[in-house]
């Protein structure tokens, strides 16, 4: 199969073949090196939501720089996996980007930050505000044209995220409710890609993390409230998800120290710089 994809089959085989010894050598050089780096006295495993993961990695990097004896291992897997990991103790800290369900409330939870999800349109779009019900109807494919929600008589190109994405999960939970996103939806695999589409298509509608909204797109008011730092802190803006750290018991030792760092001024400032709303207001 691979061979046929190459325009020159014979050369393809030889080319890849001669690479293998080299690859193996590199592999054996790298693997022991990695092991040595991870071989410290203590490890802390943080696992769960892929939405929280990049921020947790930044936090872990900063923390480890000042605490050389500790290795923090940040893993993805999704919010549900994070809850399970915390429940079973597979990870000392689980990460979730959704509220805990009633059956999960036995866990200790700490909100480390809030992430607003902005509903965005092209900067040239005249629509300034939508209700949550309108957004849900549009994404369900029930409202095909902008004219139905106070815009021009043009089709709505709604852009969603791929199945499994945490942002999509939060959007479905907080905006879609019981409705399903229509199969007609355009799908992009990152916040940035959604923003690019909306920035270039005057008829597009999408949703992205508030921290990534820039001048080329405009966040519309949802139920009359604009997504800003203030409205999120005041709990007026509705489409907000918490970033949670979860643990089975009261965190102790290195886990407690790391959580204290995250909630402390340095950790919160870092999260703020990354575009999140810090959970602890200075």
């Amino acid at each position: 199969m691979i061979v046929t994809l190459d325009s020159r089959p014979a050369r393809g085989i030889r080319g890849t073949g001669s690479l293998f010894p080299f690859v193996f050598i590199v592999f054996f050089l790298i693997v022991p090196a990695c092991r040595k780096a991870g071989d410290t006295s203590a490890t802390l495993t943080v696992a769960g939501s892929t939405s929280v993961q990049p921020f947790a990695e930044k936090l872990a990097e900063t923390y480890m720089a000042t605490h050389p004896g500790l290795a923090i291992n940040v893993q993805g897997g999704g919010s549900t996996a994070g809850v399970r990991a915390a429940e079973t103790g597979a990870a000392q800290i689980g990460m979730s980007s959704r509220h805990l369900k009633d059956s999960e409330k036995a866990l200790r939870q700490v909100t480390i930050a809030l992430d607003g999800i902005a509903i965005i349109v092209n900067a040239a779009n005249p629509v300034k505000g939508l209700t949550r019900a309108q957004v849900a109807a549009i994404f369900a494919g029930e409202v095909p044209r902008w004219s139905a929600v106070g815009g021009a008589d043009r089709p709505i190109h709604f852009v969603s995220r791929e199945e499994g994405s945490g942002t999509r999960g939060a959007f479905e939970e907080m905006v879609m409710g019981k409705k399903d996103i229509a199969p007609r939806a355009l799908v992009q695999d990152s916040n940035g890609a959604v923003r690019e589409i909306v920035a270039s298509d005057p008829d597009a509608l999408g949703y992205i993390s508030l921290g990534l909204v820039d001048r080329r797109v405009r966040a519309v008011a949802i139920d009359g409230v604009l997504a800003t730092h203030e409205t999120i802190v005041a709990k007026q803006y509705a489409v907000v998800r918490p970033f949670l750290f979860l643990s089975r018991a009261e965190p102790a030792g290195s886990a407690k120290a790391f959580i204290d760092f995250v909630l402390g001024p340095d950790g919160q400032r870092l999260l703020g710089l990354e575009g999140l709303i810090p959970a602890v207001q200075p």
Binding site: M1, I2, V3, T4, L5, D6, S7, I13, R14, T16, G17, S18, F20, P21, T50, G76, G77, G78, A81, P155, H157, E162, E163, G164, S165, G166, D180, A182, P183, R184, A185, L186, V187, Q188, D189, E196, I197, S200, D201, D203, A204
Partner: protein, 285 residues
């Protein structure tokens, strides 16, 4: 003498090993994809994957039909654009152009093959997609955009292999045809192309392989919607895009479903390849 032979044998053995290792890797990949994907296909039921329209793996729906249709349409569209263009280009270069022109153009075309697919995708998003959106309508991210980009991407493959095929036709064939009073154009259509047919079919098969396997550029320009396209301006999702888009977050059954997507893609490519080789053989007889 003896030591020389022994040295030669060592070289031969190590080269054989290297050759075998690359084939072995191919088999390991195949085995792994089937091991991960096949049990899941059997568990869900092949009919419920191949002929169902709903894909919502986190809600237990694994219909792959829109992606299968998307892959076939994008590949078919790419061939529709790339093969006539590529073949005419090859005929021009071999039969009609001056050697000096060919010496410049052929390497330039082969250089096209070296452009990374993400660059094609980026050009597609920045130039082609807005062009389609403003002049033809729809969101721009569409089957048409995918087919156009893929059509251009398979050009170097189609052209360079067609050139090889046309050049392999013996000179005496052309001379015989011209001596009988045929024009160059008649010679090309009635003598050279039929004689080079098997090579041209190979060019089409390899182009098809490139088009159906392409992922990055396709993700960027086709919109990845899960609907059956109603027109060339509607967005589509291909099997390859489905895997690449959702791999990052997939766990459990979702991940298995993506491996199953890989199995189906694998089988589809096999069937297309076999069908193409079989038809070319039958015609040659």
């Amino acid at each position: 003498m003896n030591t020389k032979r022994r040295g030669e044998r060592a070289v031969e053995l190590s080269l054989t090993l290297i050759a075998v290792s690359s084939v072995a890797i191919l088999f390991i990949i195949t085995f792994f994809i089937f091991k991960e994907g096949l049990p899941f296909i059997l568990e869900v039921g092949p009919g419920k994957m191949l002929f169902a329209l709903d894909w919502a793996p986190t809600k237990g729906k694994f219909g792959l039909l829109p992606m299968i249709v998307g892959s076939l349409l994008a590949t078919g569209g790419a061939l529709l654009i790339g093969v006539p263009l590529g073949l005419s280009c090859a005929i021009f270069l071999v039969e009609f152009s001056k050697p000096r022109v060919r010496r410049v153009l052929k390497p330039a075309i082969e250089l096209l093959a070296g452009i990374p697919s993400v660059v094609y995708g980026f050009l597609g998003v920045v130039f082609l997609v807005p062009l389609i959106r403003t002049h033809l309508g729809g969101p721009g991210l569409s089957l048409l955009a995918g087919a156009l980009i893929l059509g251009v991407m398979i050009l170097p493959t189609v052209i360079s292999i067609s050139i090889d095929a046309l050049e392999a036709v013996p000179r005496s064939y052309r001379e015989g045809s011209l001596a009988l009073g045929a024009t160059t154009a008649q010679t090309v259509t009635h003598v050279v192309i039929p004689a080079a047919r098997s090579g041209i079919v190979t060019a089409v098969i390899l182009g098809m392989g490139r088009a159906i396997g392409e992922t990055m550029a396709v993700i960027m320009v086709t919109g990845n919607a899960l609907d059956l396209p109603g027109s060339p301006l509607a967005p589509i999702r291909t099997l390859t895009s489905n895997i690449a888009l959702e791999l990052g977050y997939a766990a459990g059954n979702h991940q298995k479903a993506l491996f199953a997507t890989g199995v189906i893609l694998f089988v589809m490519i096999m069937i297309l390849n076999l069908a193409a080789t079989a038809t070319s053989r039958r015609r040659a007889r």
